[in-house]
Every structure is written in C-alpha cells, then in structure tokens.
Symmetry: C2
Subunit: 351 residues, 2 copies
C-alpha cells in the first residue's frame, strides 16, 4: 500500500462522542490514532463530562461551540450521531476519517490488528474505477491488476473521494433484521476493496468511513433526522441519506466511492426489540429515498459539491416533500448546511 | 448453502478440450464432477485422440458432430476456446457449468478443496440483487443479510442467470499485462460473492462460469474471433464479447449476474511474450467494445434472449461494423447463432 500521497498532517480523525467515557475506546485505538490530530465532538444531548485519556492531539467540541457557530435557531440538529458532522465542518484538513465510538480495531483473518486509518488512506490515495468493474477487485492493491477485457483507457481511474469500511461482529443491520436475528454476528472477513460502479446506489454507513473533505465534504451532512431517532445505529438514517447524496455527487462529478476494507469490530449494545418499539420510520422512508436518489440527475451547471447539494435540496423538496414533512426538513437542512459550509467549513483558519 | 432448487440431473458440465490428454484434469475434478453429466467438446483443430479416464458420465463431441449440426459453411467458428459453445448448444439441461481444461480445483483460505460446481449452483439458486448494492456482499449466504438502508421491496431479488467464478495462481490478465508482470500470481482468496449492479459493465471471463441455459443460453455465443487468436486465454476475446452481450441481456430482462466465488486454480502455461508477437488486437478492440455495450439499449419489444441478441447484432453491424470487419463478422455470427439455437439449442430431444 503506497501512502506516499497523504501526509499525517493532512488528516483529521473525527469521533462523535455518544458515550462520556472514551477511555477504553481511545486506548484500543491508541496505536493507530496517536499519530493524527483528532476532533472529538460531544453529543450535545450528553450531560456527563467526557473522559478522554492522555497522550492524544485532540480538539474537543461541545454544545457551546456548536451553538456559537450555528446558533440555536438552525434547522440543523447536531444531536446523537449527527454531532460528528460538526467535526467535518470545523476541520481544516483535506481528509477525514470517522469511526463510531462503539467500535474497536478489528483483526484480520490471520489475527493481525487492522490499521483502519492506513487502509482508508490507501483507498483514498489510489484511484477508483467506477466506469467498469474489475472482477479481481481493487486493481491498485499489491498483487492485483486489471483483468483481461478491461479497457486500457479506463485504467488510470479517477480520484477516490469516499472510502466505506465494514464491520465485524455486530453488522450494520436495521432494527427489524437485528430483532429477527438477535444472535447473528458477522464473522466473514472479506479481503477486498472495490469501487462501487457509477450510478449504482448503496447503503453507505457512517460507522467507519473516510473521505476527501476538499472534494466532497459538503455532501456529508446531517439532513435526515427520524422522529424517534436514538443513539443506536439501527435507529438512525442520517448516514444513509448523506451517503446517497455523496454517491450522486461523486457520480455527477466523476469521482469514485470504494467499499470493503478496512473492517472495525463493533461491540454489542442495545436491544433491537426496544428500538422497534419506537416505531422505526426507516422501513417506510427507505422505500421512497432509494428510487428518488436512483433517478435524480444533476444539471451540467452543477460544477461543485455545494452546487450539487443545493440542486438536490430543491428536487427533494419538490418530489419527496409532499409525501412526508421529514423530507422537507431534510431539504432545508441541506440548504442550511451549504450556507454553513461556505461560512465555516471552507474557511482556511481554524475555529 | 441451499441447493434444494437444483438437482444434479438439471446440470451439464461443459468442457472445451484444447488438450488431448485430459487424464490429469479429469482426475483432479473427479470428486466434484463425477455426480454430473459431462459434455466434452474437442477443439476441431486438435488432431490427437482425446484421452479421458474411466468413471464419468460423458458425451464427447468432435469435428464431425460439429460439421453435421452447423455445416462447414457457417459463419460460426468453433475452433479453440469457442468449441465449448457447441456444448452449450447441444445441452438439454437447464444449467451449464463450464471450466477451462487448464484449471484444477482450488483450495480455500483454510486449505479445503473448493467445490466449484456446488458454489456455482448456490449462486444460481439464490436470487441476485442488481438494483442496489449490498455492502456485506451476497445477502443470501449463511451469516449474511441485507444491511441497514437496503430497501425492503428489493430484498426478494431477481433470478440469477450467470455466475462468474475467479482464479487463483495465474489470474486472467491480458497478454500485455501478463508480459509486463510475468511473475505475478494471484494468491488473494476473497471470500465473497456479489451481484454486479445493473448497467455496470464488467469483463466476464469464460474460464470458470455457470449459467441458467434456459434463461440466457443464446447469449453465450462465439461471435468475436480475433485474427491471431490462439489457444491461450490471453490471446482471446470471445468470452469478453459474449459476457458483454449476456450482461446487457440480463440488465434488459431483469436478471442478475454474480461474480466472486468459486475460485479455480489456473496452471501456468504459455509465454505471454510469444502471444504479444501475434500483435494482439484485444487492446484496440476493447476500447471500441466497452463504450458500445455501455450505451446500447434494447427496445421494449425484445422480450427474449434471442430477440435481444438479434437486436444487438443489428446495432453492432451499424455502429461498430464500419470501424473493423471483425465486428461485422461478429454481428453475422450472432444472427447465425440465434438461428442455430432455435433449430438445435432449444430442441427438447438430445442430438
């Protein structure tokens, strides 16, 4: 893996703190995180003081910072998992790696600790190939290449803007599936990274991702907030929405999205049955969201990620708004986010 | 893996014999092949008598059978790797598994022999999911499921019509890549099967495939014959062309294509440098073929695989024909193949 193109100083690791005691989380990640600058954003709903062990280069943001930057009247809500987006906003780095605080480093099939950050940066530093599928997966990995029949003109690939990692142990299932299969754990370590083809849609999870903030930062946004959203992943959809936005933007701008390695190990927590009692809206909303994002096309005039998000917000409001007010609120949050990004996120000086 | 839906008697294993001595090949595959009916088609250019060990249920076809069925004036050439297509034509089974005669069973990452036939049939027996990508790969495998954000309405999937397996040791590279990296061997066993998304194109290799002959049989056809084609895979493009045809047909008819497991072990043979001296046309042709198949769309009236191939043949002749006579010949072979298939391939009685 060649990391020649990405320096440690170009990377922020952003952690949304939904738990007050990060001691064990941070210590597990210490061998991997300690070289990098970290941004920890405390869930504004979390009352207790954060406990963070010594020895890291960290900026911590809490409710007071959020209020100061976005004001309390904003249509953007940074509570729960959405707090991490504040970290994306205030970062001044080219690359972001973001991992949920209930995940620890995974081990590969040989028992070696997986350096998830190094793998994410390798994914982002090497090209993506969205216009033709390579059956031997990532052609830029050591020992791999393009297979016979792959057009030579497409072998230089495009910039990879987003790297989506996966999960061992507790997979990222939705509440109904998790409730139906409470004992199911993911133990299959699939040693592959691949580019998701252009125009193919996928459920991007926010659990374990990295992205080129300079290229697609404004597309990673907290827009879709479920009514009964809690602080368990299967109760949320904010990352699925944001993921469809960023995939559409990448397809439009000719950027790539990779999925596969690295894995993280997700610890068990929460009861899916309890989550189901909250009448999870995700089932219904997904049925409307996916066809929308599959067919949405952006005009040629949308030349930046900000343009693309504003165009999509208008279309969301028109096409999805009438069916559920949650979509109108999402569209408003998208517009608000682009304003915020222009005011704060694209600034060159730290907060 | 549930194979409940596919009986052994519904399967033909088709081997194109490019080598006269199949003793070692057949003995290596004996534990896997012996339950099934086999069709061996001898390369009409091969002079020596075939040597096939005892203990198999086999029908062998040679040049005289081919001449009797298709006549010598046909625009379809069954020499070299194309001989296997004669087996697809004369089979009366619903499913075909076809593996090159320089491949032996692979071992998985734990050292166990891979039953490539069982895995292919599992791929074909379980649905494919071409309309949305599942990040945890095949949701129908044991221990896997659809991830959060996957629309429930798409979870029943569609019929899987084609299963594309992969290769350990000698990967399926083209002649220039193989010549550039003569020592490169594929040792990465990726424990995954995935559906290739609708409208995404891929280089389908004929080395190790299985398909639903009833659904897409007429789309697996010997149409593109290179001028200097030899009997080494990297000298051929016939499967790449056929693969694009079948992918377009599947996308049009709402069928699925899977890629990944099973692996086979490809033995080394031949010199890529010698192949390059034949001035491999593949590089140039690929650049024209891929954009063509990416943009070709079939009319709603094309309701069967035969219809689709005839429509594509017309478009190939119009759009690609003027640039190279090899494409005009391919279009003619496609039309001829559909005629043959109607006369022979869709017949209900054995040859």
């Amino acid at each position: 893996m060649s990391l020649a193109n990405i320096k440690d100083s170009e990377v922020d690791i952003v952690i949304g703190a939904l738990h007050s005691d990060l001691t064990s989380f941070m210590n597990e990640w210490r061998p991997i995180f300690s070289r990098f600058h970290l941004i920890i954003v405390k869930d504004p709903d979390l009352k207790e003081e954060l406990r963070i062990p010594e020895g890291f280069n960290i900026d911590v943001y809490s409710k007071s910072h959020i209020d100061r930057v976005v004001g309390s009247s904003s249509s953007i809500v940074f509570s729960g998992y959405s707090c991490r987006y504040f970290g994306f906003l205030v970062s001044r780095k080219k690359y972001i790696v973001s991992i949920d605080d209930d995940c620890i480093p995974a081990k590969d099939s040989k028992g070696f600790l997986v350096d998830a950050v190094a793998q994410h940066l390798a994914n982002l530093a090497t090209p993506a190939t969205p216009f033709f599928f390579n059956t031997l997966y990532d052609p830029y990995r050591e020992g791999a290449d393009f297979v016979r029949g792959y057009p030579f003109s497409l072998r230089s690939g495009v910039t990879c803007a987003l790297s989506c990692g996966l999960w061992l142990n507790l997979a990222d299932l939705d509440a109904p599936t998790q409730a139906l299969k409470p004992a199911q754990r993911n133990s299959r370590y699939v040693d592959a990274v691949m580019t998701i083809p252009s125009r193919a849609m996928m459920p991007i999870s926010g659990i374990n991702i990295a992205f080129d903030r300079g290229a697609v930062g404004p597309a990673l946004l907290p827009a879709l907030k479920l009514a009964g959203e809690g602080n368990l992943r299967w109760e949320t959809m904010e990352d699925i929405w944001s993921g469809m936005c960023v995939k559409v933007v990448c397809d439009h701008l000719g950027l790539g999205v990779k999925s596969g390695l690295p894995y993280v190990w997700r610890k068990d927590r929460g009861s899916a049955i309890e989550s189901l009692k909250k009448e999870w809206e995700g089932v219904k909303l997904t049925e409307e969201i996916v066809p929308f994002f599959q067919q949405v096309r952006l005009p040629q005039t949308a030349a930046t990620t900000e343009d693309c998000i504003l165009e999509m917000a208008t279309t969301v409001k028109q096409q999805l708004g009438p069916s559920d007010p949650v979509f109108t609120r999402a569209a408003e949050a998208m517009v608000e986010w682009v304003k915020l990004w222009k005011a704060v996120g694209s600034g060159s000086s730290p907060l």
